[in-house]
Structures are given as C-alpha cells and as structure tokens.
C-alpha cells in the first residue's frame, strides 16, 4: 500500500473527529468534536471513579500489610493473578451475573485496578529503611502515625508506579465498557457499523492518545513525589 493510500483512512478519521457526518446508514449525525468530548468525558469519568475507589481500597490494605510484614505471599500473588485475569472476561462476568450499567462496570474496573496498587503499596513500605521506622516508633508514634508520616511518604514513588500501571489498564479496559451499556470512546471501535471505518480508526486513535496522556501524566506525578536523591539512584538503575 502506498503511503498516500495509507493516509486515506487515517485522514478520514481525523476528519471524523472534527466534523459531524451522517451515520453509515444515515438518519443520525455522528462524529464531531462535541460527541468526541462527550465520550472522552464519559471515559475519563468511568476510569477516574474506578481508580479512586481502587486506591481507597488497595493503598490502606497494602500499607498495613507492608507495615506488619505479613501477607507477602498474598500481596505478590494478587499481582500475578490480577495480571492473569483477562479484562474482557472480568467485564463479561459482571455483565452475565449482574447486568449492564455504570455501577457494574465500575466495580469490575475497581477489581482490575486493585492488584498493582496493593502489591506496590506493600513493596513500597517493605523497602523503607527499618531503622527510620524503628526510630519513629521509638519516639512514641502510633502505628497509623508511623504509616502516615514515615512509611507512606517514602513509599509514595513506588505506590504511584502501581497507580500508574492501574490507571493505564483501567483506561484501556474502559474501551470495552460499551459491552456493558456504558458508552465511552470504545463505542467508536465496537460500533463501527454506526460510525463507519473512519469512526473506528478515530476511536482507536483517541483511545491510544488518552492512554498515552494518562501514562505521561502519572509518570510526571511519580517523578514529582520521588525525592531527588532517589530519582538519581533510579535513573542509573532500573526504571
């Protein structure tokens, strides 16, 4: 295929994003910036809600387990199992057992998002220097005070790494939310019969773009919460 011919479908996709056009069989208008922004907002809302809840559940549990030094097998296995569960199966499971709708999909996404955050919260706390923790405990701080004021800040970079991984996974999975009746950017991809080839490619481009933006934003957050000394150490070691 020549390069110009390749530009064709992608150029048409860009046009789809900017200008509304007739649906494939006509009758309704699809595409255009307004609709794109509406779907993007739905996508972000769904993903954001899921990530917030995942953090609210996974961070405290991971911190607690890490502080106690217990449940290493659980914390690590959760990540392995979480990685093994296909997102499509998870969404389908919820649709088959509970039905369609925003709440069900959010719960499924929360389950998807918990493992990396939990594991990283655990690992992040475990790698905090024991002497610092002992000193804090020696000063009379309660368990939660120690966790909150000592372990959490030092573990934050690793935790954010987990949140970053989860966020990208959740945004990617929110693409198939239309299967459960929640219309996100994925509708452009899954309902190509309405939006046409241009719509489908536009959907793919938009989802890819959103994922990259989320990844880069969280990478920036992660760097921001990493103390400078740790940053230097990380730059020369593993990323």
């Amino acid at each position: 295929m020549s390069a110009i011919a390749l530009l064709g479908p992608f150029g048409d996709a860009i046009d789809f994003i900017i200008h509304p056009r007739d649906a494939v069989t006509g009758g309704v208008q699809v595409g255009g910036i307004g609709e794109v922004l509406a779907f993007t907002w739905a996508h972000v809302l769904l993903s954001g809600a899921a990530i917030l809840v995942s953090c609210a559940i996974a961070v405290p549990i991971g911190l607690w387990l890490g502080h106690r030094g217990k449940g290493e097998l659980l914390a690590v296995s959760i990540s392995n199992i979480g990685r093994a569960v296909p997102s499509l199966a998870l969404i389908a499971f919820f649709v088959a057992f509970i039905g369609v709708g925003f709440l069900n999909v959010t719960i499924a996404l929360v389950l998807l998002g918990i493992p990396p955050i939990l594991t990283n919260a655990y690992v992040g706390v475990r790698q905090v220097d024991r002497e610092v923790v002992d000193a804090a405990e020696g000063m009379g701080l309660s368990t939660w005070q120690v966790i909150r004021t000592v372990e959490l800040p030092l573990a934050l970079p690793v935790i954010f790494g987990g949140i970053r991984t989860s966020a990208v996974n959740v945004v990617a999975t929110a693409t198939i939310a239309p299967l459960a009746g929640v219309l996100t950017l994925g509708d452009y991809i899954l309902s190509a019969n309405v939006y046409g080839d241009a719509g489908r490619i536009a959907g793919a481009l938009l989802v890819a773009l959103l994922a990259v933006i989320v990844e880069l934003s969280f990478a920036r957050f992660q760097r921001a919460v990493t103390p400078k000394a740790l940053r230097k150490a990380q730059a020369s070691g593993s990323g």
């Binding site: 009758g27 699809v30 649709v95 509708d187 309902s191 190509a192 019969n193």
Partner: protein, 325 residues
C-alpha cells in the same frame, strides 16, 4: 476467525458419496412433484469439481445468523467445496463491506435489512412478496457486483418487546399504545438500531415516540436487560427462541408497519458465483428449503436455551432434515 474445513469436508464428502452410492439413486424420502420448489430432504451430492473452489462463508453477529452461516457452510462442504468460515463479522454494514472487499464469498442477509439499510428503501415500500423483495434488492446488489440467491420461506422482523408483567401493568398491546407513555420508558437496542429506519428511527419518526433514554447494548443482551429490569422496552426478533419458549415476554403489535419482515437471502459476490459453478446456488437453495419459522425458532432455542454450539446445531439440522447423513 477464518477456519479451514477442508479435512472435515473431505471426510464428510467421502461419507456422503459412499452412503448415496449405497442407497442407490434418488436419495431417501419423497421427492417433490412441484417444479418450483426444490426437493427437500434430498441428500447433498458431493461434486469432485468443487474441491478446487474455496468459499469463505460469513455471518452477522447474532445467534440466528451464526446458525444460518454454519448451515450454508456445512452444506457447501458436503457438496465438495473447500469451505472456510468467518462468522461474527458484525452487523450488516460490516458484513457487506467484507463481502465487497472480497474477504468473504457470501453471507445470509435479510431482504428487509438489505433494502432499508443498504438501499435506502422506506419500510412502507418493501414488497410483501419475498421473491419481489429479492428481485428489487438484486438489481441494487448487481451494481455492487453481488448476487442475491432465492429467499427462504421463513421471515424474521424486529419487534418491540417487554416483560409481560410490564405490558399488563401499562396496558399496552400495540406499539402505538406507547404514545404518551414512552417518554418515561427506557429502550434498549443494538448499536446499529439508532440509525436504522426499521428500528429506533422508525419508532421516532413513524410512531412519533420519544423515549426517556435509548441505550445501545450488544444484541446478545436483548433479553438480559429485560430480565434485570434495566430495560422497559427492548428490540427483539420475531424468531427468537425466548419468545416461543417462554411466557414471560410479549412483543407489541407493529400496527404502523414500521418493522418490515424479511426473508433470508444468501448474498454472494459475482466472482465467487462464477468460480464456484451451479452447485453453489443449488446447494444453498436446497438446504434452506427446510427452514420454516418453527424450525428456525427450534434451532435458535437449541443455541440460546440449550446452549449448544451453532455449528453442532447446524449439523443436527442438516442431518434431521435429511440433507446429510
């Protein structure tokens, strides 16, 4: 998934030829005396010339289409062709595109869908005689280099469905009864419903109905959303197994004829027809002869209720109806 069936076809064809030879000429069962209808229950004969031809049979993305695609594919296999399947293409627009692009050789389409979705014909203008409908569609298909084979006997149409309890509660029996009530009701339909005149557009324009919400969901969920109480109304198909097997659902009468019934016509590319020879159309026409509305509902029930694989159900049909042995 494009699956090659050559090994299975070879074995099946061999078995069929053996049993035809063993049974003597003419096959089992009575032959029809009416020249217009192809004899039903006649065993498909394998033709060695067909082995050089590869056909890829496609289908759309719901149960009835899977079954039909498998029936045609397995029948053509029995006739000696090298058959691949690429089922679950998507809805009609995607299937048509696959056909035009040459990715598939043919797929089963509804005359009503073809006319309203491909050729912009108003639902009211669709001929009630299936052969006339196919003729009308044939001309437009020919412009695309496609051929429409003779239609099946059974028809299927979209229908507005709801739980019987809900229909009794609202006191509705016809779609026009929804006037004045629909703005408080949610309607669930397939993704392509929102752009089709024999679906949401027809309800909005033809009946003048406004709904509280229209939610597009996968076709496979059309009963689930009623069961879970999430949908007040759902777009169903008249040949659905759930309608015939259960008393829980009712469909509202289409009093303004917005949902035209359609017969199945197998649409193939001219190139495939030329390459495949006369057995292509002959086999398709033969094997769909046994598809009455009752039979189609039964086959749908075997997949949706008994949870059998569409391929197995198609094989059972071909055997029970006497087309294969």
């Amino acid at each position: 998934m494009i699956r090659s069936r050559s090994t299975k076809a070879a074995v099946a064809a061999f078995a069929v030829s053996l049993s035809v030879l063993a049974a003597g000429c003419g096959g089992t069962g009575a032959t029809s005396t009416e020249a217009s209808a192809p004899p039903s229950g006649q065993v498909i004969q394998s033709n060695a010339d067909n082995a050089k031809v590869t056909l890829t049979i496609g289908s759309k993305n719901f149960t009835e289409e899977f079954i039909l695609g498998e029936i045609y594919a397995q029948a053509l296999e029995a006739a000696g062709y090298d058959v691949k399947t690429d089922l679950n293409l998507g809805s009609e627009q995607i299937a048509l595109k696959s056909l035009e692009d040459g990715e598939i050789s043919g797929y089963p389409e509804y005359t009503s869908t073809a006319l309203t979705s491909f050729f912009d014909v108003d639902a009211a203008d669709i001929p009630s005689d299936p052969n006339q409908a196919v003729d009308q569609a044939s001309k437009d298909f020919a412009d695309k280099g496609l051929v429409a084979f003779p239609p099946t006997d059974f028809t299927s149409a979209n229908a507005v469905g709801m739980l019987k309890s809900k229909a009794d509660e609202l006191g509705v029996t016809k779609v026009s009864d929804l006037e004045g009530k629909s703005q408080d009701l949610t309607l669930y339909g397939s993704p392509e419903c929102r752009q089709r005149v024999d679906c949401l557009l027809g309800l909005e324009d033809g009946y003048g109905l406004k709904f509280a919400k229209f939610v597009p969901v996968d076709i496979g969920l059309r009963y689930e959303v009623l069961d879970k109480g999430q949908a007040d109304l759902s777009i169903l198909f008249t040949t659905d197994a759930q309608l015939s097997q259960s008393d829980d659902y009712v469909t509202l009468e289409d009093d303004k004829a917005v949902f035209p019934p359609g017969n199945i016509t197998f649409v193939a590319s001219q190139d495939a027809v030329d390459e495949a020879g006369p057995d292509f159309e002959k086999t398709v026409e033969l094997v769909q002869g046994g598809l009455t509305e009752e039979v189609m509902q039964e086959l749908n029930a075997r997949v949706d209720i008994d949870r059998e694989k569409p391929a197995d159900v198609a094989a059972e049909y071909l055997k029970e109806a006497g087309y294969t042995q």
